[in-house]
Subunit: 144 residues, 2 copies
Amino acid sequence: MPKKRAGPKWRSGCPLNASVEMLGDRWSLLILRDMMLRGYSHFHEFLQSTEKIATNILADRLRRLEHYGIVTSREDSGDGRKRIYSLTPKGIDLAPVLTEMVLWAARHEDVGNQPLVRLMRAGKDQFNANIHRHWTEKHGASNS
Amino acid sequence: MPKKRAGPKWRSGCPLNASVEMLGDRWSLLILRDMMLRGYSHFHEFLQSTEKIATNILADRLRRLEHYGIVTSREDSGDGRKRIYSLTPKGIDLAPVLTEMVLWAARHEDVGNQPLVRLMRAGKDQFNANIHRHWTEKHGASNS
């Protein structure tokens, strides 16, 4: 995949704006969670998450995430009608963003998944490093 | 303001989901940036940002941010027709989320505001602590 492509035009030069133009949508962040923390890689897996994403929204968001180079996909060698989705290096680099969002919600709202929250609180840098290491082991050094 | 209110019902117990239900919208995050980094507090100030938020979207997002206890507002004593918006403790606690989003965009995209990026890279914990200290000085210990 070429590193440089015709860049998207942002509404401003602000780095936060670039970030929210790529991510500022609740469903995109939930798809990334499912890939990062649950290891989901197939279309039908994302549909099974508790938040009940609609098929057309899922297809659209996966397309957007691929467009921005956050997600990549390839044909499933076992079933050519299916695609396998995985995070790119740019995608796995979002771990600290997701971690801070989890920690923020856990500080201010009554939320579930306390084991995850405890793990992050015990050491968020370590948590993010583990996510990255797990992803590198799975995808090989060629992707990192 | 009472601390407990009839809690919003999330689509799932996942803390990331709670976070994206409150924040998963590009405009909300830009409004928070304008309050946190630029000190904006008046409706007309937010309208002047480069990204050109529409009046009706701004009004809606400020209402949502108040609903979730992220932003609070009061009457402007100098002009009773105007309101002054400020971040709550829950709102200022979002600094690490915004910082990670800026750093991520700056790692992977060609973006502006490099002085801000350099400041965050030099020490993000220090950067976030400074944001919090500045906010505490402005709003007084009663809010923190």
